[in-house]
C-alpha cells in the first residue's frame, strides 16, 4: 500500500518488520573484523528497539563462523551453507538474500561498506524497492516526522553518514523495509567475545537457479596484506600538506617531515612499546611528490575515501581538518593537532591544540620523549 503519492508501506505493514540483520563475511572459516564490528552496530540498534540481532551469512563450511557470530553478540544466525556458494557473486547472493528478507521481514539490514558490500547491497535494495544509505559511521533510532503526509514514523533508523556540504547527515528510510545501510569499517568496536554463548541457528537451503551461474569465476587469488595496519595502531601520526613549508614559509622537503614523523614513531615503538603507524591526508598522497614515492602511499590515507581509524592517540601534523579527513579519525580518543593556522578546522575537534610550526614542534617532542627523565 502506498502513502498517497509516496511509495512505501502502511504503518501496519511497517510494524511487521522485526529484527536487525547484519550481513557478515567469512574468511578462512572466521568472521572478518568488520563483520564483528557490524554485529556490534546491529546490537546497538536491536537493543534500542528490543529485537534480535541476526547474523546473515552465505558461503561454504560455515560451522565455525556461526559459532563465532553467537559468541560476538548475535542472537540468531541465518545462513546458507552450500559448496556452490563458496565464492561471492552478485546474482546468487542477491537472489538468496532477497528470498530470506521476503520470508523473515527484517526491520533493518546492515552491510559492510567495502567492495563486497558495495557490490551486493545496492542490488538487494533495488530488488526489494527499499532505501540504501551508504557509508554510515553511526546509527540511532528516532521518531521521524514526514512533513508531506504529516505522518510520524516511530522508531526509525537514523543512518548517520559524512556529508560533504554539511558535516554529518542523517538519512532516514521511514516508509520502507528493511532499512538497508552500509557501515564503514572502524566505527564500532567488536563486542567482547563470550565463549559458549549460543543462539538460534537457522539454516536456509536455497536451490541453485540458472541465473546464479551467469557470471563465472575463473580464478581467485589472495592479495598480500599491506604491512601498514592503520586500523590496529594505538598511535597514528598523520601528515598533511603542511609538511611542505615551515613557519617562515620556506619550502621544506616533504621527506624531512616524513622522517621526523618516522623518528617519533620509532621512539614510541621502541621505548614505549606502542603500535604506531604513519597516516596521511588524501591531498598529500595525491600530490604524488617524488620525495615520498613508495613511502606515503594510498594505503596510508585516512578519511572518507581512505581508512577509518580510532587509535588512542591521533597526531595531525599540518592537516587542515577537511570534513572528509575528519570523518576518518574523529573517533580517536585523543586528538593532537599541530597547525600554524589558529583557525584551522582541525582545532574544532582536537583535544590538544598546538598552534605552531610542526618543524619547530616535532624536534621538541622527539627530544623530550627520547631523553627520558
Amino acid at each position: 500500500m502506498s502513502q498517497g503519492q509516496f511509495s512505501g508501506l502502511s504503518l501496519e505493514e511497517l510494524s511487521q518488520y522485526k529484527d536487525v540483520w547484519v550481513y557478515v563475511v567469512v574468511d578462512d572459516g572466521k568472521l572478518t573484523k568488520p563483520s564483528l564490528e557490524l554485529i556490534a552496530a546491529g546490537r546497538k540498534i536491536a537493543d534500542k528497539i528490543q529485537q534480535r540481532v541476526v547474523a546473515v551469512m552465505i558461503g561454504y563450511q560455515l560451522d565455525n563462523a556461526v559459532k563465532e557470530a553467537f559468541e560476538y553478540g548475535a542472537d540468531a544466525v541465518l545462513y546458507a551453507d552450500e559448496p556452490w556458494l563458496k565464492s561471492y557473486i552478485c546474482l546468487p547472493y542477491t537472489r538468496i538474500l532477497v528470498e530470506m528478507v521476503k520470508q523473515y521481514k527484517p526491520y533493518a539490514f546492515l552491510f559492510i561498506a567495502d567492495e563486497l558490500g558495495r557490490d551486493l547491497s545496492p542490488r538487494v535494495a533495488y530488488r526489494l524497492k527499499t532505501g540504501l544509505a551508504t557509508d554510515n559511521i553511526d546509527l540511532e533510532v528516532e521518531d521521524y516526522f514526514f512533513g508531506p503526509t504529516r505522518t510520524t514514523y516511530k522508531n526509525t533508523l537514523a543512518q548517520i553518514r559524512p556529508d560533504f556540504a554539511t558535516r554529518i547527515a542523517k538519512i532516514y528510510t521511514p516508509r520502507h523495509r528493511p532499512q538497508i545501510a552500509s557501515i564503514r569499517p572502524g566505527n564500532f568496536n567488536p563486542l567482547p567475545r563470550q565463549p559458549g554463548r549460543r543462539g538460534e541457528a537457522i539454516r536456509f537451503t536455497p536451490t541453485p537457479a540458472d541465473e546464479d551461474f551467469i557470471i563465472q569465476i575463473i580464478e581467485e587469488e589472495k592479495v598480500p596484506k599491506s604491512p601498514i595496519d592503520l586500523e590496529n595502531a594505538q598511535v597514528v601520526i598523520s601528515l598533511g600538506l603542511g609538511i611542505l613549508r615551515d613557519g617562515e614559509g620556506r619550502p621544506r622537503s616533504p621527506r624531512e617531515g616524513y622522517e621526523l614523523a618516522e623518528k617519533l614513531a620509532t621512539i614510541l615503538r621502541e621505548k614505549y612499546g606502542l603500535r604506531v603507524e604513519i597516516g596521511a591526508t588524501r591531498a598529500l598522497i595525491y600530490a604524488e611528490l617524488k620525495e615520498l614515492e613508495g613511502i606515503v602511499t594510498k594505503d596510508r590515507q585516512v578519511g572518507q575515501t581512505g581508512k577509518t581509524v580510532a587509535p588512542e592517540i591521533y597526531i595531525a601534523l599540518g592537516i587542515s581538518g577537511a570534513v572528509q579527513h575528519r570523518v576518518g579519525m574523529i573517533r580517536s580518543k585523543n586528538i593532537v593537532a599541530v597547525n600554524l593556522d589558529p583557525k584551522a578546522p582541525i582545532f574544532e575537534i582536537a583535544h590538544y591544540a598546538v598552534k605552531d610550526d610542526l618543524y619547530k614542534i616535532l624536534p621538541k617532542i622527539i627530544e623530550y620523549l627520547s631523553g627520558g627523565e
Binding site: Q5, S7, L132, T173, I215, I349, Y352, K355
Partner: protein, 406 residues
C-alpha cells in the same frame, strides 16, 4: 553513464580557504573519466558506438556533455583525456526527476537506457519488416540509408564508407546475397543491439555512494525482463568479441577475483583501471560493427519520452530522505599549548571567599574560576600554563610506566 557533480567536490588539493569561482558549476564526476576510457577501449575492440547518458538539470548538464565530444581538448567541465569523444549524448532531464535518491536515479537511468535500446532495435526491426514483407531492394536501400544517417544501424548493414563495400543491404541490392541471407544478417544485428555493455564510474565525488551502477543493472533487468549481471570496481578487463564475454578482475575482501561475464552486462570501473590496447586483428571487424559517426547535438529526453512511471521518479519515488546536516561535535575540553591553564597538582576541595571549589586533579583545565583566585593559584604555582611537556606527559606518561614495569 556520467554524472554532473559540483566542482568543489572534485578538487583533490585544496588551497585552504580559497574557493575557485567556477566551483559552483557542475562538472563531470572525476571517477567517470575511467568509465569513458573503458568505453573507448571497447569501441576500439568491437566497434559499436559510445552513447553517454546523464540525468540532471538540462542547462547544467548539456555543457558537460557537449565537451564529451572532444575530450582531448581543454575543457572547464571534463578532464582532458587522450581518447576520441563519445558518439552520442543523451540527457535525462525532467522536474519530476528532482530530489531522487539512488533507487529513483537508477530507475530513471535504466528507463533511459531501455529507450536507447528500443530505438536501435526498432530501427533494425523496421528493416526486417520491410524485407519480410517483400519490399523492393531500392525501397530497402532508401530506408537503410535514412537509418544510417540517423546513426541507428551499423556499417555492416549499410554504409557509405568506401572501406566498407560489402554492407548487407548493398550486397542484396547488387544481387550478391539472397533476401534470406539479408534477413539473417539483420537478425544478427538485432541481437547485437541487445549485447550492450554499460559502463559507469565506481562512485561520484558528491554522493559517494557507488549504488547507481549496480542498481541500474538491476533496474534495466527488470524493464527488459532479463537479468543484467554487473561487476563493481573492475580494475582490469578485456573483451573477447567472438565469445561475447568480458573477463574482468576485481577485489573482494582479500581476494582478487577473475570473472567471466557474458554480454549484456554492466561494469563499474575502479580508479586504478588502465585501459588495454586491443589487438590489431580486431580492427576490421570493429569498423564493420561501427556506426556512421558522431551526432553532435545533445539530445534531451523527459520522463514521458522514456516511458518512466512518474511515481517511481524523484523525491516521491525515493525511499530515503536526507535529514538536516549537523556539525561534528567539539571535544568537551580542549587544551591549547601555550594558552590553557591547568592544575599542576591534585588539589582537595577548598573554600575561598565563601565559595567552595574543587577538588581538582593534576592536569585539569582551569575553567570558570574567579580571575583573582586564578592569579593567587598561579603565584603559588598550583596552576600554570599548559606546555608541550604537559601534553606529552599526559599522553605518554602512563604508558612509560607500563612499559618500564614490563
Amino acid at each position: 553513464m556520467v554524472k554532473g557533480v559540483p566542482a568543489r567536490t572534485t578538487g583533490v588539493i585544496t588551497v585552504s580557504g580559497v574557493l575557485r569561482r567556477e566551483e559552483m558549476d557542475l562538472v563531470m564526476n572525476p571517477h567517470d573519466s575511467k568509465a569513458l576510457q573503458a568505453a573507448h577501449y571497447l569501441r576500439q575492440a568491437v566497434g559499436g558506438k559510445i552513447i553517454a547518458v546523464s540525468m540532471g538539470p538540462e542547462p547544467k548538464i548539456v555543457p558537460i556533455m557537449q565537451d564529451l565530444y572532444e575530450p582531448n581538448q581543454e575543457s572547464r567541465y571534463v578532464p582532458r583525456m587522450p581518447i576520441y569523444g563519445v558518439d552520442e549524448n543523451i540527457v535525462l532531464s525532467d522536474r519530476r526527476m528532482a530530489g531522487a535518491d539512488t533507487l529513483a536515479t537508477a530507475y530513471a537511468l535504466s528507463a533511459g537506457v531501455k529507450k536507447i535500446i528500443d530505438i536501435h532495435a526498432d530501427a533494425v526491426k523496421n528493416l526486417i519488416n520491410m524485407v519480410e514483407s517483400g519490399a523492393s531492394a531500392a525501397e530497402i536501400e532508401r530506408k537503410a540509408e535514412e537509418l544510417y544517417r540517423e546513426n541507428l544501424i551499423p556499417n555492416k548493414i549499410y554504409s557509405t564508407l568506401s572501406t566498407i563495400g560489402d554492407s548487407a543491404v548493398k550486397l542484396f541490392a547488387e544481387g550478391k546475397i539472397t533476401r534470406e541471407e539479408l534477413l539473417n544478417r539483420l537478425h544478427s544485428a538485432l541481437e547485437d543491439v541487445y549485447n550492450f555493455i554499460i559502463i559507469a564510474g565506481m562512485k561520484t565525488s558528491d554522493g559517494e555512494t557507488g549504488n547507481t551502477g549496480p542498481q541500474t543493472a538491476e533496474g534495466l533487468g527488470e524493464l527488459l525482463g532479463k537479468l543484467i549481471p554487473h561487476v563493481a570496481f573492475v580494475r582490469d578487463f578485456e573483451i573477447f568479441p567472438d565469445e561475447r564475454i568480458i573477463v574482468a578482475s576485481r577485489r573482494v575482501g582479500n581476494l582478487v577475483q577473475r570473472l567471466r561475464i557474458p554480454l549484456p552486462c554492466l561494469l563499474t570501473i575502479h580508479t586504478e583501471y588502465t585501459p588495454k590496447i586491443p589487438p590489431a586483428s580486431y580492427q576490421k571487424k570493429a569498423k564493420r560493427n561501427g556506426y556512421r559517426g558522431q551526432v553532435k547535438k545533445v539530445k534531451v529526453w523527459d520522463a514521458d519520452y522514456i516511458g518512466a512511471d512518474p511515481s517511481r521518479l524523484g523525491f516521491s519515488g525515493s525511499p530515503t530522505i536526507v535529514g538536516p546536516g549537523m556539525e561534528i561535535g567539539k571535544p568537551p575540553v580542549q587544551k591549547i599549548v601555550g594558552e590553557s591553564l591547568v592544575f599542576e597538582r591534585d588539589v582537595d576541595e577548598f573554600e575561598w571567599r565563601g565559595g567552595k571549589y574543587g577538588p581538582f586533579k593534576k592536569g585539569d583545565l582551569v575553567q570558570n574560576l574567579p580571575e583573582e583566585l586564578v592569579m593567587e593559584l598561579r603565584e603559588k604555582n598550583i596552576i600554570g600554563v599548559f606546555t608541550l611537556k604537559h601534553l606529552l606527559d599526559e599522553l605518554f606518561g602512563g604508558v612509560k610506566l607500563v612499559a618500564r614495569a614490563v
